[in-house]
């Protein structure tokens, strides 16, 4: 059986579904129940454009136990073309090539294995365009 804490995030992790405030137009990823800007509770679901640019980054050398097998790996904050910002790993890249402002695109990847059973958990990582 798939774990509830994993499957309820699938619309975001697999399909980049965000909530767009019907009143002020602000886009939230993940979706929210109330808009912090205008306090509206009316949202429509939109799919994010997976392309954007890198705002800041780091190379994780010392990871938690769960991620230590992947270290070192790059993590950055990406601003997508819709204006949404998110934290993601940057995959398939030489660390020396990573620069603030570079163009990236989110792709579907395995992120981690969860729990003692090692459930494969998927989601988005960024690659250089």
């Amino acid at each position: 059986m798939i774990s509830p804490k994993y499957f309820r995030e699938i619309p975001q992790r697999y399909r980049l579904e965000a909530g767009k405030c019907k009143k002020c137009g602000q886009v939230y990823f993940p979706p929210r129940l109330i808009c912090p800007e205008c306090k509206s509770k009316q949202f429509e679901t939109i799919k994010l454009n997976p392309e954007g640019k890198l705002l800041t980054y780091t190379i994780i050398r010392i990871a938690s136990d769960k991620f230590s097998i992947q270290a070192p790996y790059a993590v950055g904050i990406v601003e997508l073309n819709d204006g949404v910002k998110l934290t993601t790993q940057i995959a398939n890249v030489d660390f020396d090539r990573i620069k603030i402002g570079m163009k990236l695109k989110l792709v579907f990847r395995k992120i981690q294995d969860e729990g003692a059973a090692g459930l494969h958990c998927y989601g988005y990582k960024a690659i250089v365009i």
Partner: protein, 383 residues
């Protein structure tokens, strides 16, 4: 609201206290504070702890500590706001006394981090579990992204950031309770192991055990217990988005600016009136950003200020982290905010020894949780 005073303090050594349990550590600090304050009872108590559940498998800390301190059935409340747990426990105690609900209240904090838990994972629970931690980000990683953004935006250099660690270690040499009492050099910082680029091991506060406690009472009765009460001039708290990525800027911490504005207004002072500050240098870059957000330096100038020695004990401009800060003194997470108040108390009562700031009248503590999603600022004044 009543005027509130700190009348006594107590803390344990910070470090790897393998022979002591979380209960031993908290009770040791609390007993020292009670003795130091010369009170025969407390009416209520607060225990700041970030994650005793993950670190040692013990929750329900309010009741646990009241029991082992031998003060049951008084109300005892555990306060959690990640790394700001201690500072906010202090604020809750302040509010309880200020409201008149209690006369004498203990504010303490404790963390036991060396009992074998995955510390990186436990600390990461202060970030957004589903949208930051899920991707593999760590706390050094979040502050490393703040550092890279600050270096990109303001041309802050690696050497400037390292200057914070060098200065705090120098101060910590003179703090008998500090975990690391040894000076380090810029070279040593820049050649230490990379943890999350550009931050290295000596940019990071250590994993620590430790406890700290202070006793508060209303100013009306403070002189009954001590000749030297320290007045709490202001206590302010603010929050921000849990995820670093949700913020408009990664180089300004809005919870710090919001809490600072409020605290300065309540105290009726401006940043230049503060004689010294204990700030949350969980990572070196944090002290630089916070020294700007508290208004001590222009935005973007925190790095050069650190490098020029404007925050050193000798500078006279604004000594920051005379205790050694989290970097040298140690960072038992829940105890940190209370230990900052203790350094203020010692400075304002002239008990800081070789760390003493001359003519110290007003001190400020800044304690924050996560990547700045919560912040509490306390301003204390010598009478």
């Amino acid at each position: 609201m009543k005027d509130v005073a700190v009348i006594g303090v107590g803390m344990t050594q910070f470090g790897e206290l393998w022979g002591k349990s979380i209960k031993d550590i908290f009770v040791e600090a609390a007993l020292k504070a009670i003795e130091n304050a010369n009170v025969d009872h407390i009416d209520s108590m607060y225990v700041g702890s970030m994650s005793s559940g993950l670190f040692v498998g013990q929750e329900h800390l309010g009741a646990v500590m009241a029991d082992y301190l031998g003060v049951s059935p008084i109300p005892a409340t555990r306060v959690e706001s990640a790394c700001a747990s201690g500072g906010i426990a202090f604020r809750q105690a302040y509010l309880e006394v200020a409201s008149g609900a209690s006369e004498i209240v203990l504010a303490g904090g404790v963390e036991k981090m060396t009992d074998g838990a995955d510390v990186t994972e436990a600390l990461a629970t202060a970030a957004d579990q589903e949208y930051e931690v899920y991707q593999g980000v760590t706390f050094p990683g979040l502050y490393a992204m703040i550092a890279n953004a600050h270096m990109y935006q303001y041309k802050t250099t690696r050497e400037q950031i390292a200057a914070v660690a060098v200065k705090n270690h120098k101060n910590g040499v003179n703090n008998p309770n500090a975990q690391f009492r040894g000076e380090i050099s810029i070279d040593k910082v820049l050649n230490s192991t990379l943890v999350a680029d550009p931050l290295r091991l000596l940019d990071c506060s250590p994993v620590s055990d430790g406890g700290a406690a202070v006793i508060l009472c209303s100013m009306d009765i403070a002189k009954k217990f001590t000749k030297n009460p320290v007045r709490i001039k202001a206590s302010a708290q603010a929050s921000d988005t849990i995820a670093l990525h949700s913020r408009k800027s990664f180089t300004t911490l809005n919870s710090v600016t919001a809490a600072a504005q409020k605290a300065y207004k309540i105290a009726g002072i401006s940043p230049k009136d503060v004689n010294f500050a204990e700030v949350h240098d969980c990572f070196t870059i944090a002290e630089i950003v916070v020294s700007e957000d508290l208004g001590f330096f222009e935005k973007g100038c925190g790095g050069s200020a650190a490098e020029e020695g404007l925050t050193s004990l000798e500078s006279g401009k604004i000594p920051i982290n005379t205790s050694g800060g989290l970097k040298s003194k140690g960072h038992p997470v829940g105890a940190t905010g209370v230990a900052q108040v203790i350094e203020c108390y010692e400075q304002l009562t002239g008990q800081a020894g070789k760390r003493q700031v001359k003519n110290a009248k007003i001190g400020l503590t800044q304690n924050m949780g996560g990547s700045g999603a919560s912040c509490v600022i306390n301003i204390l004044e010598a009478l």
